[in-house]
Symmetry: C2
Subunit: 371 residues, 2 copies
């Protein structure tokens, strides 16, 4: 065969639903020389990574680590470890990712009761209260904090109270919020949470940070059946991530991806969580006023700062606009997903991508393309 040419990717401005633009510092760290996965120096890097993840998840949960797969592997880790065949669960669906959580839970053998609101809307405490009252046997409520498919931001504090009062666990998807919006795992009493590295942490995709509360661990320890996934079985993984003295070999961790995540977390903490959230808020306001000045309307009432989902105006070929942005400006934005396919654009302001320069560049380019 003809051997393909040398790699030479274009330097895109990544303002879609993820990945976001990765800082050079992170790319450089990722290219550092590979250590063995049981090398004491690597173990230290991994421990530091987990410690920084705790800080960013705002939790003291010991069991906090990056799953060796992308965000959806994190979802599956939470599901397969907490669910046993026959369990009843409640899943809140207002977009693609709630739907996937349902699919994941069914594959783990759960009977899934759903609470649904139209795409782009969010859940009230009352709607969850009603669901837990209707299904008192449910073990867990799953909900998405930041719906990447609609740009809706879900309040969680009140819902958590409702869920725990009913004696259930709370599992939360924070793929598009961690590092851009506050994710207060301990304060909100979240029992299981997963995220991705390629959104507001501005690390390449490849790992999924997760955290489990002591209550979640207690439930896992009471399992009667083996976790259906060997690769994602926390009962074994915790001997690697928490083992003191020796670390039990489970699988070979993606060493250089962990280097990249560690560097991206250092950047997050150097900026400071509050300053980072404020920057995302400010850039969202700036983008919003720019988009609205172009006549574009946000779809969700409670919009994420990190993902801005706007309706495509009538008569516009949305894919053609995205192609122009990509090919003429090297800017990537996202199209709609699911029921919003062809009808929405999704503009990410995540981590390193959330800067004044990027917002103004995008607005100028979009104005050209629409004009």
């Amino acid at each position: 065969m003809t051997i393909p040419a040398e790699l030479n990717p274009r330097e895109r401005l990544l303002m879609g639903p993820g990945p976001s633009t990765v800082p050079h510092r992170v790319l450089r760290a990722m290219g550092a020389s590979t250590l063995g996965h049981l090398d004491p120096q690597y173990i230290q890097y991994m421990d530091e990574t987990c410690e920084m993840l705790r800080e960013i998840f705002q939790t003291s949960n010991p069991l906090t680590f990056p799953v060796s797969g992308t965000g959806m592997a994190g979802m599956e880790t939470v599901v397969v470890n907490l669910i046993e065949p026959g369990d009843e669960v409640i899943v809140c669906i207002n977009g693609v990712f709630g739907g996937r959580m349902k699919d994941n839970m069914e594959r783990a053998g759960a009977t899934v009761h759903t609470v649904e609101v139209p795409w782009g809307e969010t859940f009230t405490d009352e709607s969850i209260e009603q669901a837990v009252t209707e299904h008192p046997q449910a073990k867990l409520v799953g909900i998405v904090h930041a719906e990447t498919s609609t740009g809706a931001l879900q309040e969680l504090a009140g819902i958590s109270e409702v869920v725990h009062r009913a004696g259930m666990l709370l599992a939360v998807d924070t793929v598009t919020s961690l590092g851009g919006h506050p994710v207060k795992v301990d304060e909100w009493k979240v029992d299981a949470v997963y995220s991705g590295t390629q959104k507001c942490l501005s690390c390449p995709p490849g790992l999924s940070p997760v955290s489990f509360s002591p209550l979640a661990i207690e439930k896992m320890e009471q399992r009667k059946t083996k976790v259906q996934s060997w690769y994602l079985d926390v009962s074994m993984l915790k001997n690697y991530y928490l083992g003191s003295g020796g670390r039990a070999y489970h699988h070979t961790a993606p060493i250089n991806m962990v280097y990249a995540l560690r560097e991206s977390l250092r950047i997050v903490l150097q900026e400071g969580l509050e300053a980072r959230f404020e920057r995302h808020r400010e850039m969202h306001q700036l983008l919003r006023s720019g988009l609205e000045s172009l006549g574009l309307c946000y779809i969700p009432k409670h919009s994420l700062h990190t993902l801005n989902c706007v309706a495509v105006p009538d008569g516009i070929d949305e894919a053609a606009i995205r192609s122009r942005l990509l090919n003429e400006y090297d800017i990537e934005i996202g199209g709609g997903l699911g029921v919003f396919a062809g009808k929405a654009w999704r503009i990410g302001l995540m981590g390193h991508s959330a800067t004044r320069r990027n917002v103004e560049t995008l607005i100028a380019a979009l104005k050209d393309c629409l004009g």
Copy 2:
């Protein structure tokens, strides 16, 4: 919290059971700017990566791609897609990884019949003939080509004939052979195969190349139940990896890991498969004569070229020797696993690590430490 110091990993010589030392070319490629996972340029890079994987697996199987996880995720992909609850299977166990295959298959609901030989030994065609005769209902035979825990190399051509004559599928673990020993997927009629990137391909860990034969796909299409893993469900993944026209979004692929794999495969093909296998053979001979001159004995009769498993002499604290090699020489070798824990060293000669300089450096260091 105190933010950890800048990353500064030592430049180890990786001569353990993996990862192997990664060439700078691969590290540089991995640090190239991140593209979106649906970017046409990225799709092209992915297609080229799959095409090179076909060349190295010596197959024309269209369904050949890197799973977004490390080697064990590849094993799980093969298992969960081919097995349905209630299926009978035969698994050959002569080390850790055959045992893991059994565990994986049981988690997928299979009834597993095992064929076992002592660790370090390999299977004859006759032993498999006997097993398929005893369990004619079995759907699949799983076997390890290169047992990373013992260093044994398994012949496959004859076994494949036996398996197919019995109407069963053949699934093979090539984690420690791909890129170092011939893996002839089409000639040997292997129906499902998985590997890792961090061994003889000398790419960092993080992806698992897999390939499925048309017969395996036919079996998957006849499934009555959903694949238990959403993340690893090939019925969805193939729409991303094989989709012509649009690529269906499934999960965000680990973009920069794919850059790294693509570069490592370019290096493999630039060297040429036959030249590469010959280099591994020569370096194995050189290492073997060096180790034997130090009085060390190989454990397996049919040793891999890529992984050299030798018995630790009586009275030697094997962990202390490994610590000295690591701390004084920056050389990593592996200890024994499972029944060989404390009793064996595992010395890898994989990909970029398999050079005359490395072999002679290691022999000299080992002589110092043992002397």
